[in-house]
């Protein structure tokens, strides 16, 4: 009885309870931008001249088109009203969040597909729910150190501490 109960709690209830569900500040549709507006991935997600990676586009970049609402989409209206007009950067939730002590170089991993690590949001009309670990504060999808290390080991890349830590 105790065994069954605890197994049930441990395998089904605990994972539910451990994560809080969060939504992005507003819905963002990649297909709407790529298919309808004809943008390419690199318009927003590109390597800067110094080789660092511009993960999210800056507000300035978004405002190039969205200085005023372009459609009657309520999410766009929310974006313009709450962020563009107030000059506030959007606090996107990062599914692949890593803490300050981790250094990750996108350009060093350029040979991989983005979706090897990231959710395939390019095909999603609705931004997925973000699951935040109530205890550690990290995202459910945050890659753990053993995952990084395994891939490094498999590819013959150094697992020295300072390769990834700062």
């Amino acid at each position: 009885m105790g065994l069954i109960l605890s197994l049930g709690v441990g395998w089904f209830v605990f994972p539910q309870v451990l994560y809080s569900e969060k939504q992005q500040p507003f819905n963002f549709s990649h297909p709407a931008h790529v298919e309808n507006a004809g943008m390419s991935c690199e318009d927003c997600h590109f390597f800067r001249d110094d080789g660092s990676y511009a993960g999210y586009p800056t507000l300035e970049k978004c405002a190039e088109c969205h200085a005023a609402p372009q459609t009657d989409n309520p999410d766009e209206a929310k974006f313009v009203a709450e962020y563009v007009e107030k000059g506030k950067e959007v606090p996107w939730l990062t599914y692949q969040y890593q803490p300050d002590n981790v250094f990750f170089s996108h350009i060093a991993h350029n040979a991989f597909d983005c979706t090897d690590c990231h959710p395939d949001v390019a095909k999603m009309d609705k931004t997925p729910t973000y699951y935040q670990n109530r205890l550690s504060g990290y995202s459910k999808q945050t890659m753990k150190m053993w995952q990084c290390e395994r891939c490094h080991a498999e590819n013959g890349v150094s697992n020295a501490c300072f390769v990834c830590h700062k």
């Binding site: 080789g51 660092s52 002590n101 250094f103 170089s105 350009i107 060093a108 020295a160 501490c161 300072f162």
Partner: protein, 265 residues
């Protein structure tokens, strides 16, 4: 304990005949690496050097003679990134290691348990313990750089040769199609090196023939600090003043190798 040999060996050659002791390197280092100012629990008193955090510290050396023969030299002391570090084998949790190309001794704050064995082992006093949580005056945390993670109370920290600048240089190299293992010398320079108005510090890869440090380290004027301990620092000091060179290997006044004795500040 055996340590690896690396293809790249980053290091410094510090020309003590140029250092004026102005302190620009220390301040540049603190800003770059998010080192918090002295804590309120120390009454904001940074004159007690046992409680300050100075990854780079400028020591004053004196030849011990009376005026006017008295002479002064200044010695900036980062982490020596020893080839045979004394701090690494004593770490019980492998929070510090020397295992990466470049030979920079790493220090991982979340892994550190604060036992301070490494501090006891390091003869250069290059390691510092966070006696307190970092305290920045209100709002000043907005000036932190994105380069180095903030450290909590209870962990040890030290100079990393601004390792993040190497990471940045490698990213730039990949972007520009340059071999990240063969960077031009000026692509990766720690904050102290670039800040120094007197150009006293030369930084580069000892193993790269196109970098100047290898040649400089072999100069007749170059020595390593406390060379007799055989920790083989990756930091060399050069001076044309014999008393300065003699003092570099003099860890105790009156020692068999000792010169005239000195005073650390």
């Amino acid at each position: 304990m055996e340590f690896k040999e690396f293809t790249i060996k980053w290091g410094m050659v510090v020309d003590l005949d140029k250092c004026t002791g102005c302190g620009a390197c220390m301040v540049a280092c603190q800003a770059e690496n998010n080192i918090a100012p002295i804590s309120k629990y120390e009454n904001f008193d940074a004159s007690n050097k046992l409680r300050t955090l100075t990854w780079l510290l400028v020591y004053k050396m004196e030849n011990g003679k009376p005026f006017p023969e008295h002479e002064v030299a200044y010695l900036p002391r980062p982490c020596m990134q020893c080839e045979h570090p004394a701090c690494v084998p004593v770490c019980p949790v492998v929070a510090t290691d020397k295992n990466e190309e470049g030979g920079i001794v790493s220090q991982i704050y979340p892994r550190c348990i604060g036992c301070r064995y490494c501090m006891a082992a390091c003869p250069y006093h290059s390691r510092y313990f966070n006696w307190w949580d970092p305290q920045f005056p209100e709002g000043m945390d907005k000036t932190l750089t994105p380069f180095t993670s903030a450290r909590p109370r209870g962990v040890v920290e030290k100079c990393t040769f601004c390792h993040h600048r190497w990471n940045a240089a490698k990213e730039r190299a990949r972007k520009e199609g340059v071999d990240p293992m063969n960077l031009p010398q000026d692509w990766y320079q720690p904050a102290c090196v670039s800040a120094c108005p007197a150009g006293a510090i030369t930084f580069g890869d000892f193993n790269n023939a196109e970098h100047t440090v290898g040649e400089l380290s072999k100069s007749q004027y170059s020595r390593r600090l406390l060379a007799k301990l055989h920790l083989n620092p990756q930091v060399y000091y050069m001076s044309k003043r014999p008393w300065v060179l003699a003092m570099l290997d003099n860890y105790r006044a009156g020692d068999a190798h000792g010169a005239e004795g000195g005073q650390h500040g």
